[in-house]
């Protein structure tokens, strides 16, 4: 039922063609560059509140989404820029949302932690830890009720695992056989509390066994390994309405939020530097160049394209007006 994958699980060729390799690299770089620009925007005072960056974890969102159909659903917690972008949202509208502007995905009312995009079936940005897991189960319930064959991927951090809602959700999805893929991004710290200080069972994937759910652990820095594991989980969910628990071993290179810029109190600088050697984008870029899928020039072209798109996104967000005052009272109740 469960197995542990190591990096480079795909043997021989990489299992992707030139087009797919370009797409994966583009999508990961886009998130990286977006987050770097968001950090700049925060420093400039253009973005307020809490800002949780996804830098270091890009392979999880990109590898996962690459195995989904457009009509599949995704839902996440508050470190969700990457999941939202990977699902296909326009970076311009995501950045405008972070800027609190009227052209943002949520008209500027949601902010960094509440990105939603109906056009891509991205169901949010939820900022109470664990609360979106039952919601994901409800989406799985609705898919089955309506006779559909979509799946929902529910991203959450290791910090959600001690919450009761994690266990309620795993139980309900298993009990009712729903097409929900629980994807735990284990970046080892819930804010400043390490997994060892939070969980009696630190091997999170093993909770799947408790609930009779297929569970796998995967190197969250290896986009190809993630694709392989998610491919199996998506097939199980789509064809057999079987939920899965995937634990992606990843790491955030930045602090918990911009208010914890270094993340230096609860982890050592050496640990952070060591983890940066696992940078998912560098690893993938080096691999695709090494096997000759992409050239250095290809990579430079991708980087330039991504930089241009994110610069456009920043300019768009900056130019977008603030939401008008009367919007304070719209979207509270839906009128018939």
């Amino acid at each position: 039922m469960a197995k542990t994958l190591t990096r480079n699980a795909t043997s021989g060729g990489l299992g992707v063609d030139v087009g797919a390799a370009k797409q994966l690299l583009t999508d990961m770089l886009l998130i990286r560059r977006f987050e770097e620009k968001a950090a700049e925007g925060y420093a400039l005072g253009k973005i307020g509140g809490f800002l949780h960056l996804y830098i270091g974890e890009e392979a999880v969102a990109v590898g996962t989404t690459s195995m989904l159909r457009a009509d599949d659903f995704a839902i996440s917690a508050y470190r969700e820029h990457g999941h939202c972008l990977a699902k296909g949202s326009d970076p311009k509208r995501v950045m405008a949302e972070l800027y609190g502007r009227r052209d943002g995905l949520s008209k500027g009312k949601g902010g960094s932690m509440h990105l939603f995009d109906r056009s891509t079936n991205f169901l949010g940005g939820h900022a109470i830890v664990g609360a979106h897991l039952p919601i994901a189960v409800g989406v799985g319930f609705a898919i089955k009720y309506q006779g559909g064959d979509q799946v929902i991927v529910c991203y959450f951090g290791d910090g959600a695992v001690p919450e009761g809602e994690f266990h309620e959700s795993m139980n309900l999805a298993a009990l009712w056989k729903l097409p929900v893929i629980f994807l735990c991004e284990n970046n080892r710290y819930a804010m400043g509390t390490s997994v060892e200080r939070a969980l009696a069972q630190t091997e999170i994937w093993k909770f799947g066994q408790t609930y009779g759910i297929p569970a796998e652990r995967v190197d969250g820095m290896d986009v190809l390994a993630i694709r392989e594991v998610l491919g199996r989980a998506v097939t199980r969910a789509r064809q057999q309405k079987t939920p899965s628990l995937i634990e992606a071993d990843t790491y955030r290179f930045r602090g918990h939020s911009m208010r914890d810029p270094a993340g230096a109190v609860y982890r050592t600088k050496e640990e952070v530097e060591r983890e940066k050697l696992r940078d998912p984008i560098v690893l993938f870029r080096d691999r695709v160049i090494a096997v000759g899928l992409l050239s250095e020039a290809d990579v430079r072209a991708i980087e330039k394209d991504v930089n241009d798109r994110i610069d456009e996104a920043v300019a768009f967000a900056d130019a977008s007006p603030e939401p008008p005052g009367e919007w304070l009272f719209t979207d509270i109740y839906k009128e018939a």
Binding site: S106, I128, V139, Y145
Partner: protein
């Protein structure tokens, strides 16, 4: 028109709406096989099957979240809380997810969900099972809160709640399930949310009450009639949005107000109504607004203490007499 119990009226509303709209389903603890802890969902499993009448384990936050997620992608769940006391376990889902989804998604995802079940003071169920829960919910923008007093209201308001595109908190009462009354059988009979009803016309004083307190106020009004005091009884029916127009209209006629509520008075419905009346009709008042509320204590078990906790008819009578004897006119 047929005579039926409050329980039967709710059951009929559920059945009619489930026939009308295949997206409507019922989910909660013991709603199917057991037919409801209070038998409100009796017969539904047999009629609609397990896909639409879904028994859950005891996991209030979990199954409420399931309802919210299902509502976001096109279904219309009716979530039963076996009693509303248990809804506190789902309070985060209700307040932070259901109520705010439409707003924080900038109008992209509404949550058409009804969360229903009994609440309010019951009979010797003590501190954790006998309390008025509406105050926890009507503070929250994005929620609608309904408290139906009669079988007719139970049916008409539940149907409107199920058809509403927003999260509706629908709190019934254990003590009213066996109350009988006239109920229209027309499946298109609905009562709009946000509309109060004048249950009894009067000229001297407006008494505002709902649920069990309305029945008690009705008894008091009949007794006061004999003393020559004409009481107008207003039932808000929906607490959010509150029909202040009907309330203020009545106050402008009677110039005196008593609000009766079963819950503890501090920051309760009476406070809110007193504030609205003061803001909108101060010059019409001939006496300060009186509140008759549950005592500011948890609900005790002992029968005599329980009686002291809940507003009595005598307290309502005394409050009405006080405002009518005030020297404002």
């Amino acid at each position: 028109m047929a005579v039926m119990t409050y329980r039967e009226a709710l059951n009929l509303a559920l059945r009619e709406e489930m026939h009308r709209d295949p997206r409507v389903f019922v989910i909660g603890e013991e709603v199917g096989l057991y037919e409801g802890a209070y038998k409100v969902t009796q017969g539904l499993l047999k009629e609609f099957g397990p896909q639409r009448v879904v028994d859950t384990p005891i996991a209030e936050s979990g199954f409420t979240g399931v309802g919210i997620g299902a509502a976001m992608v096109g279904l219309r769940p009716v979530v039963e809380m076996m009693t509303f006391n248990f809804a506190l376990l789902a309070l985060d889902q209700i307040v932070n997810s259901a109520a705010k989804m439409y707003y924080m998604s900038g109008g992209q995802f509404n949550v058409p969900i009804v969360i229903r079940g009994p609440g309010g003071p019951a009979a010797q169920l003590a501190a954790q099972h006998s309390q008025s829960m509406e105050t926890y919910f009507y503070h929250v923008p994005g929620l609608k809160v309904v408290r139906p007093t009669t079988p007719m209201d139970a049916k008409g308001l539940l149907k409107s709640s199920i058809r509403d595109d927003n999260p509706v908190i629908f709190i019934e009462s254990e003590t009213l399930y066996n109350v009988k009354g006239d109920v229209p059988e027309d499946p298109e009979f609905v009562i709009p949310l946000g509309k109060a009803i004048v249950r009894r016309e009067g000229t001297d004083v407006t008494v505002i009450a709902y649920m069990g307190m309305m029945y008690r106020a009705m008894e008091a009004a009949e007794e006061l009639e004999k003393e020559g005091i004409s009481v107008e009884l207003v039932d808000p029916r929906t607490l959010r949005p509150m029909d202040t127009e009907t309330i203020i209209g009545s106050v402008r006629k009677t110039h005196r107000v008593v609000v009766v509520e079963a819950g503890a008075g501090f920051a309760g419905m009476g406070s809110e109504i007193a504030a609205s009346v003061t803001e909108q009709a101060f010059d019409d008042l001939d006496a300060p607004v009186e509140r008759v509320t549950g005592a500011n204590a948890p609900m005790p078990y002992a029968r005599n203490l329980e009686k002291l906790k809940t507003p009595s008819k005598d307290k309502i009578l005394a409050a009405v007499r006080r405002v009518c004897n005030a020297n404002g006119s």
